[in-house]
Amino acid sequence: MSAAPTRSDTSSCRRARALVALRHALNLGLPILFVLIPILSFVLVSFWTLQDGQIVRTFTLANYRSFFTEGSYLPVYLSTVWLSLQVTFVNVTLATAIALFIFRRTPRVRFFILMSFMLPLFMSYIIKVYAIRTILGQRGLLNEGLMALGLIDQPIEVLLFSRTAIFVALAVIYLPYAILPIYLALDRIPANYLAASADLGASALQGLRHIVLPLGRPGIAAGAVFTFILTFGDFVTPQMVGGTQGFTFGRIVFSQFGLALNWPLGSALAVILLATTLLAVALAGLTLRREHVR
């Protein structure tokens, strides 16, 4: 557009171009290096095999075949998915109710109530699981307390080392992860909407059903995805509180990287785990498709 460029023009031009290149390099290069390549490299490993304790680097689907045909993988996978779905459902329900509870307080106290629900995140996860076990044991604080109060005379045994226990522990540990996104979504609902809803004749319950919940849906979906992913991948909590029921898919994956030294099979199982969580994300995204942003 302007006259012929001068020399200083071209050199500053070159510098600008170098800067642009650097920007792309940093912003695309770093994620490629530290996210994409690691993930791809273990996807790659999943197509290799283990023979006589040595990794054979030829392409094969054998590991994936094992998942479907051999022993316990598929049943454990399915039961883990089912468990995670159950926790997700219960937690999202609870979290929605709690987020609604916070939402219906006056603005000045909301932050502190929200924070009191977030604070437990700051205590070490392992210590928490330990403490949960101390509470729920057959001679744990809960049973002993209830017996001391005379409310029961026999300890309740299913509290610990059962599916119920996994359920309770996962729910307690991951509940804040569901509350936060749901509350943040509710917080974005314009204050006037509820006034308008009431004005048009809707009861509080109707306002909840037609206004608050639909508008909270993105948050609910996000909370569900977080909960599902975290519970599905957690291999410590189920093991610690689940007793003989605590064998989950994450545990199987983990075990392949120990003495079994079966990295290829472990990687293949991990890829399946990965695909499952991506599927969960995609499903959540799909339910939001119809969302109309303002």
């Binding site: 001679r139 003989t244 199987i252 990287f257 120990g258």
Partner: protein, 314 residues
């Protein structure tokens, strides 16, 4: 003496702060400890860097060959091992740790995977492991969760002569036996502390334990328990000090091993952690001859798969 740093990959109780402080003062070498909970974790950590992250690794005799085969640990230079003289005669040969003429580990601590029982329930100690399968104690039994040792254990209970080299037929029997046990269990546990904690917080009366320490800890907490090696025998384990193949400070590694193999350290370990030391006659551990010393198993990968199936079974 050699300066720098020595990095230990160890189990709990193998690097007591009192020792490391003394060692640091004596040699000027800094000690950095990484604790692991089990062989699986240990091998995963070693494998991930071919040992470059650590200098001294404690490996149990059963896993030594796997470590050596994977070239994760280096042969011992006996010249540098000036403290070898402190070893009890029984351990001095180090045959268990020797493959193809090279020695890979120095015996350091030993113990057994015995039976812990509640003395009130069992005024006389149970004499057979079969008690764990007794439906009378359903939900009152807990068991160690360790692929290799559980299979060893199952084989021993079944009276199989060589628990470390199972035929397919034998493996199937072991698997069935372990699945049967699972039905009687309250839960599995993964470490000493987990075992004793679960015991103290629940109505448990029998435990296929991780070792003497389990009973000692429970007794300390006021539980009236006993420790017994039933008639079928029990797995004996022996942990060895080894030098990582990836060590960057061989001198420091040997300095630590020589320090650790002093009699006073062994005695202190026995006192504090209840492990049997290899430098002194252990007190009260009079059943060494009834132990079936763990050896390298026929196939870890297969054992892991079998164990997973046991745990996944309904």
């Amino acid at each position: 003496g050699p300066k720098g740093e020595v990095r230990l990959l160890a189990y709990e109780g193998y690097a007591d702060p009192a020792w490391t402080e003394e060692f640091e003062k004596e040699t000027g070498i800094t000690v950095k400890v990484t604790y692991v909970g089990g062989v699986d974790e240990q091998i995963a950590k070693m494998k991930a860097s071919n040992g470059k992250d650590y200098d001294v690794v404690t490996v149990d005799t059963a896993s030594l060959k796997a470590f050596a085969d994977q070239k994760l640990i280096a042969p011992i230079d006996k010249q540098k091992l000036t403290s070898a003289k402190n070893l009890l005669p029984a351990f001095r040969s180090m045959d268990n740790a020797t493959f193809d003429g090279a020695t890979y580990g120095v015996p350091w601590a030993w113990g057994s995977l015995g039976l812990v029982y509640d003395k009130k329930t069992f005024p006389t100690p149970p004499d057979s492991w079969e008690v764990l399968w007794d439906p009378a104690y359903k939900g009152k039994v807990i068991s160690l969760d360790d692929a290799n040792n559980d299979i060893n254990f199952g084989a021993i209970v079944l009276g199989i002569k060589d628990p470390f080299n199972l035929t397919d037929q034998q493996m199937a029997e072991v698997k069935a036996k372990l699945i049967a046990l699972k039905k009687n269990l309250l839960t599995y546990f993964a470490g000493f502390d987990e075992g004793t904690t679960i015991w103290s917080e629940n109505n448990v009366v029998l435990m296929f334990s991780m070792g003497e320490l389990a009973a000692i800890n429970l007794q300390k907490k006021g539980f009236d328990v006993g420790y017994v090696i039933p008639k079928e025998g029990a797995v004996g384990w022996l942990d060895n000090l080894t030098v990582s193949a990836g060590t960057s400070n061989t001198d420091a590694a040997y300095a630590w091993m020589n320090f650790a193999l002093q009699k006073k350290i062994g005695a202190d370990m026995a006192k504090k952690y209840g492990y049997g030391a290899t430098t002194d006659a252990p007190q009260g551990m009079d059943y060494a001859d009834r132990l079936i010393w763990a050896q390298n198993p026929e196939n870890y990968t297969r054992r892991q798969a079998v164990w997973n199936e046991v745990k996944a079974s309904e």
